[in-house]
Symmetry: C2
Subunit: 278 residues, 2 copies
């Protein structure tokens, strides 16, 4: 077995974030209605687009995030594309399979078999709603990571996540649970950049954990806060950009536009990081 195969995903993430110099995670989320001009709105089109995007952004990214929904929307044909795109991810890049699964233990074990076994993800995103049963089967895959949803980036996120129990919003309970139960960094948290005050608060509750921070592009989140707060003492974090790169242009220059957008995102993140000590 190669050295790469026996190193934990967390170690590989740490190395790669150090190599590129910023926590840039690029989302490869092909929508058949938003492909470059001339691409067919089907499995062939999304594959051509996803592979072409991966090709130009890999140089700048610490990680890629494949949102399963964008493949699954086309059924088994979409899943075949997902398998091929995942296989094309360079081995030094950390690969998150963003499925937000969450089910009882015996079912979670099947989701883990698909996403961490069959697809060999370095990490998955998991919903906390069912409690610990829903998380443990993913951690049975030694060396992989789980990002548990804490405070998401969408407009209705606070509806349940903001409900206060014992004087603290639900998302803080999730953060405390993860921080106490998995202090070694194997479990991180999804915390949207669209709520920077909550992001700072969750960082103070869970200082050790790595955060996966979506919402900085199209959704209008705070890039500086995302970069500042994503890293934990036990694990580095990631700031995820999806639509900002994948929809940079729909013309014949789409690939160059995505490459430039990735390069600029990386530079902005490096600059944000450099200002931390100011």
């Amino acid at each position: 077995m190669s050295e790469l195969a026996v190193r934990s995903s967390l170690d590989r993430l740490r190395d790669r974030v150090a190599t590129v110099g910023a926590p840039l995670c690029v989302g490869i989320d092909p929508h058949p209605d938003r492909l470059p001009d001339g691409f067919s709105p089907d499995a062939n089109g999304i594959e051509r687009f996803a592979r072409g995007l991966l090709e130009v952004v890999s140089e700048y990214a610490a990680a890629v995030k494949l949102n399963v929904a964008f493949y699954e929307a086309l059924g088994s044909a979409g899943w075949r594309v997902l398998e091929r795109v995942r296989a094309e991810v360079p081995p030094d890049l950390f690969c998150i399979l963003d499925g937000k699964r969450g089910d009882i233990g015996s079912t979670a074990e099947r989701y883990a078999a698909g996403l961490l076994g069959h697809l060999s993800g370095d990490a998955v995103t998991v919903s906390p709603y069912l409690g610990e049963d829903a998380v443990e089967p993913f951690l049975a895959y030694t060396g992989r990571m789980v990002f548990l949803l804490a405070r998401t980036s969408n407009p209705s996120a606070a509806q349940l996540q903001g409900l206060e129990a014992d004087g603290r919003p639900l998302f803080e309970h999730v953060a405390t649970w993860a921080a106490e139960r998995w202090p070694d960094g194997r479990v991180g948290l999804v915390v949207g950049a669209t709520a920077p005050a909550e992001l700072e608060r969750i960082r103070s509750i869970a200082p050790a954990l790595g955060f996966l921070v979506p919402g900085v592009g199209e959704q209008g989140g705070d890039l500086a806060a995302a970069v500042r707060y994503c890293h934990g003492t036990a694990a580095p974090g990631l700031v995820s950009i999806s639509r900002g790169l994948s929809q940079a242009s729909t013309g014949s220059d789409w690939q160059e536009a995505a490459r430039v957008a990735a390069k600029e995102a990386l530079e902005r993140m490096r600059e944000a990081d450099a200002t931390l000590g100011v």
Copy 2:
């Protein structure tokens, strides 16, 4: 277009529950390690099993529930099986695609495209953690249904779902939300039979909604409570049995054993229903 195609899934569910005389929902959840003797532990094996099970239980069932995880565990090959099994579900049976998806609106739209568009489910299960954004894209498929997770059947369910906000556990907030927002019955709730007191309480909060009640077989839930409380005034409910039927026998009699178990489950539900007036 046929009359069947333009009737809502809710109307079809109501008719089918009346026809079979009980709210029996059969889970078709093939695990490669728990197939009958001689079946190969791969996509061929799970397809042979799932289709064989569907064939013998359809007569007794108001609905079938396909848990996506058990197919997805095998990647695109598993999804091909899911597509073929779904196509074999008799048109008068209500078909739930149990994926417990839950993501931001633009992503939920892609899950809806896969599960309600591509796979033509009558209903899906959805996690409430992200709030209303995560639910609405599924309801854009007119006439279909969503079962929102309220109180699940697993051992760690109460960890988050039982946290009290404003003096009421989180699952009651989900029930109140669904009852007030969708009083017409298009949205139902998943409420485990393993917590009969909570089931009764949620029924009182959401009298109109149909409940999908898992947990009565292997998980040890209360069948009589499940049958008593699953139906709402705006929509009928369903009581789901999976492992109790699919693992009735692993011998050469597996199909007959599953058929007998389905028949007996239906009879027990009819009897439980008959005692409601006592």
